[in-house]
Symmetry: C2
Subunit: 128 residues, 2 copies
């Protein structure tokens, strides 16, 4: 089993689009500022839905929608983790926490403009 | 960029644990019925957090938490999609929608016990 679509929610999709492309470097598949932002990852898709729209969506698919603070972790090896720390600091995105887990793997946490908690984590947190 | 952790929320994690292991066949990494359910996928982790607990989590990591109806899509090729349809029907999980997209890829939708909208979708929905 593998994930094809991971979802986050944001009210301001214009700010989200700027952040996920300019800061995280993701490619936009499609973008409707009043509805949804589809972003291409290596082998899956990250979608940000406008929270106030999705629960009453008119796309004809089963509606969903969440409010609150979401969370997603991206893979990063040790070198990538250091690069991301430098890059986030350079563009003024605060690292809200750095953590070393019991098995030695490291994570850094930061927020997207909607307040979602994003994480870069070394994959050996879960996989040998 | 690749996802390492995808998150859903559920209030009844015991029901979630039963569904995600018995019906979807996922392997439990760790399970605390009052807090979180970690499930292993092929190259990532799906975590269900107890919605009412996570926003005030005591794990020392930046708190998050959402309420509402979440959404995740899993990859399934054409054969797997048919197998999942049969399996879900056999165990009494209703397929709430079947859909063929513009590029010919197909999706089926169903709910987990918390009401989250789950989907099996052919990967060529997004990837050639």
């Amino acid at each position: 089993m593998r994930i094809l679509e991971t979802i986050l929610y944001a009210e301001d999709l214009v700010a989200a689009q700027r952040f996920y492309t300019d800061v995280l470097g993701l490619e936009v598949i499609s973008f409707d500022p009043n509805r949804d932002l589809f972003l291409r990852l290596e082998d899956s898709v990250l979608i940000l839905f406008k929270a106030s729209k999705t629960i009453v969506n008119d796309a004809g698919v089963p509606p969903h929608g969440m409010t609150g603070i979401g969370h997603v972790a991206f893979r990063a090896n040790a070198d990538e983790l250091e690069s991301w720390k430098d890059k986030l600091e350079a563009v003024g995105v605060p690292i809200i926490q750095e953590r070393t887990w019991g098995n030695g793997s490291r994570s850094i946490y930061f927020n997207d403009p909607a307040g979602n908690v994003l994480e870069f984590a070394e994959p050996h947190l879960w996989f040998r």
